[in-house]
């Protein structure tokens, strides 16, 4: 419904992804390179939706084993116990550190999930050509980009623990396949967010307008 459905592409301009310079494309097929910084120009990121979908799907697939499989195995003198992310959360909560449990739960379980959900939401709305809440969706995307890398903290901690706690035979920690999947989830969602082109949010209203035309 917004009258502000004007986009650079529609107006025949192309903006540089790197330096933001607005320029006229060299041709309709190949917009050429940015006259200022030399970056290859694109009207929209190539295959943004397809790529994002693929990465989101991959991340979603990895999300399951990341949470089901143990991320690390703690061996002490008397026992040997594999730990999943959820069991870590439960353990922290049971041992009284509910705030740590909360941090772990949010950073490792909820944020990846939220990212996936947000990406799917953005993809679906863009594909459906929705033109509602454009600003909110744009803000959602920005949050997504910022927050994405922080999930790596989990992987970081696991790596540290594995490297540091090697006091055989008293205690040792070994990584388990879960941590691979978990880092895959984080990396894939970062890439997915990166491959998504937020400009598509605004294109949709244009597309709608075009269809309306």
């Amino acid at each position: 419904m917004t009258a502000v459905a004007r986009t650079g592409m529609r107006e025949g301009f192309v903006s540089c992804d790197a330096c933001g310079l607005l320029s006229r494309p060299a041709g309709a097929e190949e917009p050429g390179e940015c006259p200022r910084c030399g970056e290859e120009l694109e009207f929209r990121r190539r295959d943004a939706i397809q790529r994002t979908w693929a990465l989101v799907a991959a991340a979603a697939i990895c999300y399951l084993p990341a949470n089901i499989l143990p991320v690390m195995r703690t061996t002490t003198l008397t026992s040997e116990a594999p730990d999943t992310i959820i069991s870590g959360v439960v353990y922290l909560y049971m041992s009284g550190s509910w705030y740590l449990a909360l941090i772990l739960l949010i950073a490792s379980v909820m944020i990846p999930l939220a990212k996936l959900a947000a990406l799917v939401f953005l993809l679906v709305t863009v594909q459906r050509g929705s033109d509602r809440n454009n600003r909110e969706r744009a803000r959602l995307y920005r949050v997504l980009e910022i927050i994405g890398r922080w999930s790596m903290v989990d992987v970081f901690v696991a790596t540290f623990v594995v490297a540091l706690i090697q006091l055989r035979p008293l205690m040792s920690v070994a990584p388990e396949p879960g941590v691979l999947f978990f880092s895959a989830v984080v990396i894939l969602t970062i890439f997915a967010a990166e491959s998504f082109d937020p400009r598509l949010i605004w294109d949709s209203s244009q597309g709608k307008q075009e269809r309306d035309d």
Binding site: G12, R46, T78
Partner: protein, 555 residues
């Protein structure tokens, strides 16, 4: 215009087929992710081992999630749950097994808890002090898969991984044997008792033993087993013999085995062969009756000190033993005589022979052996004789020895057992010698000696009397003279005394001149001493006077 041109270009975009072409490339990522995920799921599913239940009397040391099931120290499962049985009499341990251990879970597999165990024969399971208890398993041989097991309370002494063979020993009593009792071969621990059971009729025990490879190969069909529990002391004609095993077997008993050297080099006995367990080595190593020779001996002397089992020696080397001592009724004389039955063992003779002779001796047939003995007796004078083995205990033994001077004799083969010629024992010889000494003593002319003695004494008496008379004469005539002499002597002494007292007066009296002179001399010395003291005093006060002479007295 440009805007319109741009808009016109949009539908012409030729990117569409390119996009299509790129689709699969991008979608490879989720496909790979899906494949890996699926692979892991499949792997998990395939690795999913069976779940088993083991019942134990107690769950001591078994903790879900911490107790493992191990075979050859490899984790093959983990206890997941420990619950009480429905009637609360047992503990049901549920364990998740590894897939690869599936083959171990058969009908006759056995499970037990491994914990630190200290027994006389050793300490085991020390590792569990640190790692916690675990459940051990001995796989069965059955091919039938099984999921419910009854756990053992005591670990089985041997596990399937050990190679060796099992044998059964039939014993009349269990003695001090128990499960785990060691089995020694030449004092080397080569196996252990793994079980025992009373025979169904209750008359014997079947002791099951397990010998480790390669020692099981030493067991042939001729092998003898005997119990070597603790210390065995025997007091026989051979003296006190004390037989001990290692300290361990003194404490917990044990079994020894040996194959008699006389045995034919047999093939190793098959698995689970049954042997007799003897009480001691002698019983075990006693050869079959067929290999022994029996003789009967009729001694003239008392058999006191001879007992059944007393050794029979050939030239001092043991070759047999006394088997029976009895009295025989002799119809001819209507009296009784002692009868000693002995048994000599061929193998013991062999043992004493040199190596090359053994082979020859082994080849001897029974007839050959008879002839051999016959020749020894008839030509060399081999005889049986009772001898004292120990002077303290008075034990007797039978010695076969050469007595070339004895009258000819032969073995009476007609009797059964044949009669062996004897000679009187050494004690008998001593008696004879004593007798001859006595006879000689009897021959001594004691009476004549007595008469001579009496005469001599009479003469002596006369001599003494004359001596007496001489002395009386001395008394009467010599003594008065002596008295007179003494009185003269006394007078002489008195005179001497007087002379001496005079001398005293000149030398020692208060006015004696010698005394006076001495006193004067002493006074002179005292004066000189005083003068020296004065000089010393002066010098002390005026040392310079030594150089300058005496200073004038200051007023």
């Amino acid at each position: 215009m440009t805007e319109n041109a741009d808009l016109a270009n949009v539908p012409e975009a030729t990117h569409v087929p390119k996009k299509r072409a790129r689709v699969p490339v991008v979608w490879i990522i989720p496909i790979v992710a899906a494949l890996v995920g699926a692979g892991i799921v499949v792997q998990q599913y395939l690795n999913e081992g069976p779940t088993i239940r083991i019942s134990f009397r107690t769950a001591e040391g078994i903790e879900p999630g911490k107790t493992f099931i191990k075979y050859k120290d490899v984790d093959i499962g983990k206890v997941t749950k420990v619950v009480l049985s429905k009637d609360f009499s047992k503990v049901i341990v549920t364990a998740k097994m590894e897939k690869h251990a599936q083959g171990l879970l058969v009908d006759d597999s056995r499970f037990w808890t491994v914990k630190p165990r200290v027994t006389l024969s050793g300490v085991s399971g020390l590792g569990t002090l640190l790692s916690g208890n675990y459940i051990g398993v001995e796989p069965g041989k059955s091919g039938k898969s099984h999921r419910d097991f009854a756990g053992l309370e005591v670990p089985p002494p041997i596990t399937g991984g050990m190679s060796g063979r099992e044998f059964t020993l039939r014993a009349s009593t269990l003695g001090s044997l128990g499960i785990g009792s060691p089995i020694y071969y030449r004092r080397l621990n080569v196996g252990q008792v793994i079980g025992y059971a009373l025979a169904p009729d209750g008359t014997s025990f079947d002791v099951r033993i397990f010998l480790d490879t390669p020692y099981d190969g030493y067991v042939t069909s001729d092998t003898r087993f005997w119990e070597s529990s603790g210390i065995r002391a025997t007091m026989g004609a051979g003296g006190l013999s004390l037989e001990t095993e290692s300290v361990l077997s003194i404490l917990i008993g044990g079994i020894r085995f040996e194959t008699p050297p006389s045995a034919t080099a047999g093939i190793p006995a098959p698995e689970k062969s049954v042997f007799t367990l003897f009480d001691n080595r002698d019983a075990a190593m006693a050869p079959p009756v067929a290999e022994s020779e029996r003789y009967v001996l009729y001694f003239q002397e008392s058999l006191r000190g001879l007992s059944v089992g007393a050794p029979v020696t050939l030239l001092g080397l043991p070759i047999g033993e006394v088997t029976e001592i009895s009295l025989d009724y002799v119809p001819e004389t209507q009296g009784v005589r002692t009868r000693v039955e002995v048994m000599t063992f061929q193998y013991r003779v062999h043992r004493q022979l040199g190596k090359t002779d053994v082979i020859a001796a082994k080849a001897m047939s029974r007839e050959d052996r008879k002839k051999f003995m016959q020749r020894l007796v008839e030509e060399k004078g081999l005889r049986a004789q009772l001898r004292t083995g120990s002077l303290i205990s008075g034990q007797l033994y039978v010695a076969l020895d050469y007595f070339p001077d004895t009258p000819k004799a032969r073995i009476d083969w007609a009797k059964e057992p044949p009669q062996f010629p004897v000679v009187p024992g050494k004690m008998e010889n001593i008696e004879l010698q004593l007798k001859s000494i006595l006879a000689k003593l009897e021959k001594i002319p004691v009476e004549e000696i007595g008469n001579d003695l009496r005469k001599t004494l009479e003469t002596l008496d006369n001599t003494l009397q004359s001596a007496d008379r001489t002395l009386t004469r001395v008394d009467e005539e010599t003594l008065p003279e002596a008295k007179k002499t003494l009185e003269d002597l006394r007078r002489a002494i008195a005179a001497a005394e007087r002379v001496l007292s005079n001398t005293d007066n000149t030398l020692l009296g208060p006015d004696a001149p010698a005394q006076q002179e001495l006193r004067d001399a002493l006074q002179e010395i005292a004066r000189s001493a005083r003068a020296i003291r004065l000089l010393a005093d002066t010098l002390e006060r005026n040392p310079e006077s030594l150089l300058r002479g005496k200073t004038k007295e200051t007023p």
